[in-house]
């Protein structure tokens, strides 16, 4: 990595502002939403107040505007928010996305949505079955990337749900159905591998190719399901490779809230992954033990970049810049090479208010500055 040490990057979604939620539903903005819009516009300058779309939104005519222009404004807002706080790699805070499973699956053939499954309490999610050969209907996320690319001054980094997670969150009828005899653990594992690789090759890969053709150069593959089945870490890696092998972009893999040790060494076979973007701050204490897992990279002689989670996205308490700097120093010491570190929140900040998220990102950026100064002084 060239350039200043410890560049900062976004890692996932941002809370949608109230004005966007109301506006894209065609509802007039209430006073709080107008205040929110104008105060953030004063801070990050994402919209021209004389623009007819902006005027329509603020004057209560969201319905005639339609959801598209409101989402555009939402994307512009998140992008400028990240840029103004000082991130090097930026995106649109997933302003156009509602979730990370249903939308990608709906862009593919070979799936059928079957109904709701309870997540917990009275919360449910829609779940699909893979019922045929996986094929891509059309590459997705391309239009949102084009929009970001046209507006961004930072480096766009696109997040996309990975093949393992899409397979794991679906039922595997087609590939498991081809297994003869009793479908016990061995058969299920073989079928899971086939399913993951099929999604990787026939849906994710052509989407990545289209994104790269449109100029996307930095792509984060999100695999939140990887941590739930550590014994399948080799399949996660195989899916990653099948999706990305030979493609000309910088790829990272984001896995949050897992026992990362259980994924070693199988996950290291994801050869085209240049950066491991993981969560550390959530489990950290004053002893900085949240970062001890980085020792595994030394043990396995893995020298790739690390996207270092330095602020906890599940707590409102804002970390001080000094605490962030201390976390970076600890990680740099373990890794033995500060130039391998990018800094970021543990995961997306969408569960935090925009104000708290801003303060946390500012801590990321300021903490990186402090740590950078230390290393520069030390020569």
């Amino acid at each position: 990595m060239s350039g200043p040490l410890f560049p900062a990057q976004e890692i996932g979604s941002l809370a949608k502002p109230r004005w966007q939620l109301l506006g894209q539903r065609g509802e007039p903005l209430d006073a709080a939403a107008v205040r929110e819009f104008t105060s953030w516009n004063d801070r990050v300058h994402f919209a021209d107040a004389s623009d007819p779309s902006v005027r329509a939104l603020l004057e209560g005519r969201a319905r005639e505007l339609g959801p598209g222009p409101v989402r555009d404004l939402g994307a512009s807002f998140a992008l400028r928010y990240f840029e103004c706080v000082g991130l090097t790699r930026v995106y649109d805070g997933e302003a156009r996305r509602i979730e990370m499973y249903e939308y990608p699956i709906r862009q593919m053939r070979g799936f059928q949505f079957l109904g709701h499954v309870r997540s917990f309490d009275n919360k449910y999610y829609l779940k699909a079955a893979g019922t045929g050969e996986v094929r891509l209907e059309r590459p997705y996320h391309v239009e949102e990337f084009d929009y970001v690319k046209a507006k961004a001054t930072g480096i766009p980094k696109l997040p996309i749900t990975g093949p393992y997670t899409l397979a794991d969150w679906s039922y595997n009828e087609h590939y498991l159905g081809r297994e003869a005899g009793w479908k016990g653990p061995a058969a299920r594992r073989r079928a899971q591998r086939e399913f993951v690789v099929a999604i990787a090759k026939h849906a994710i890969r052509p989407t990545l190719q289209a994104l790269i053709e449109h100029g996307c150069r930095v792509i984060q593959i999100d695999e939140p399901a990887a941590g739930t089945h550590p014994e399948e870490a080799d399949i996660v890696a195989e899916g990653f490779n099948a999706a990305t092998e030979g493609l000309d972009a910088t790829f990272s893999m984001h896995i949050c809230f897992s026992d990362y040790r259980s994924l070693f060494p199988a996950l290291l076979e994801a050869k085209n992954c240049q950066q491991w973007a993981w969560e550390f701050a959530n489990r950290d204490t004053d002893e900085r033990d949240g970062y001890e897992v980085l020792n595994m990279f030394r043990e396995y002689d893995d020298h790739r970049e690390v996207g270092l989670g330095v602020v906890d996205v599940h707590r409102n308490e804002v970390e001080s810049a000094e605490k962030v700097a201390d976390r970076i120093r600890r990680a740099a010491k373990i890794l033995g090479d500060p130039s391998r570190i990018w800094v970021n929140p543990d995961c997306g900040l969408r569960t935090r208010s925009l104000d708290i998220a801003w303060q946390k990102l500012q801590a990321v950026v300021d903490g990186a500055k402090l740590a950078r100064a230390d290393f520069e002084r030390a020569g």
Binding site: L114, G115, H116, V117, R118, S119, F120, D121, N122, Y124, Y125, K127, A129, D168, W169, Y171, N172, E173, L176, G177, G181, W182, K183, G184, P185, A186, R188, A225, T228, H229
Partner: protein
Amino acid sequence: MTVRIALTGPFPRSEVLVAATRDGDRGRATPEAVEARYAEAERDVVALEGRLGFDAVTGGSLRWADLFRPFAEGWRGFTVGPVTRWFETNTFYRQPILHAPPERVPGVVRGALPGATLVPPGQAKVILPGPFTFAGLLDNRSGETREALTHRFGRLLAEEVRDLRAAGYATFQFQEPLLVVDPPEGPLAEAAVAAYRDIGAAADGATSIVWTYFGDAVPVQPLLARLPVSVVGFDLAETEPDRIHAPPDHRGIGLGCLDPRTTLPEDPTEVARIARALQAEGKPRELWLGPGGPLDLLPTEAAARKLHVLPAAKQLLAPNGGSR
């Protein structure tokens, strides 16, 4: 060998009930309207169990927010804790937090079961958390060791069984995924055996079932064989059937032959083949067929489709059953 079929855990909520509970949470439906949908859905599950000829009826545990919630909300010593991942699934439970040694509150379990007019106690299967899994999955701030807590839950659940026996209930199943996911050793294993000794004594002639799932039971078979219960169940998606040994004392075996992690229906002839092999090896007194794990990992229609495999397999296993 007697073959019995039944649900082994929660049945998924119907799409109508999904919508109703969501509406209830968002203030778009009254509690009475949501309750009406619960009652309707429960009647539908009982009717399905009846149509399929199930040997024990559960009503689908539709009102149970998770395996522990009636206890965490109704027994003393608990509060309801954070959302926590339910084993290697994309579903979650609220982890009970135990602040003091737990105390049973009579009537809590009974209140969480379908009414006796809908499911007569003699036909019901009562599904409860197993003492080892309960003690192992909560956030234990009680000051008791896990061993002591496991044994204590055994005693409390035994009291529950006694009360329910007095009310006419005769079939009890204890959910023990943790026994195979994180098998106990040494004193903890002994605590599990002791807990089931209490439960077994309370069952006193009733059917007591330990149901394992989400893990390979093969390494734990010696411990499972020591549990003084009528039936031990195995999740065949996690445990290769040809590695299961029928218990030497001819007690019953449960075959979790429906995999709730896939919508693909199982083949009844395969289920019957596996059952016959176990029958030949160990001559178990009874065989229970059911889902390997909680069927509410599936949407409702897919779950209902799968359940049809059970009577078909039972038919094949009948003395004059279908062709082999």
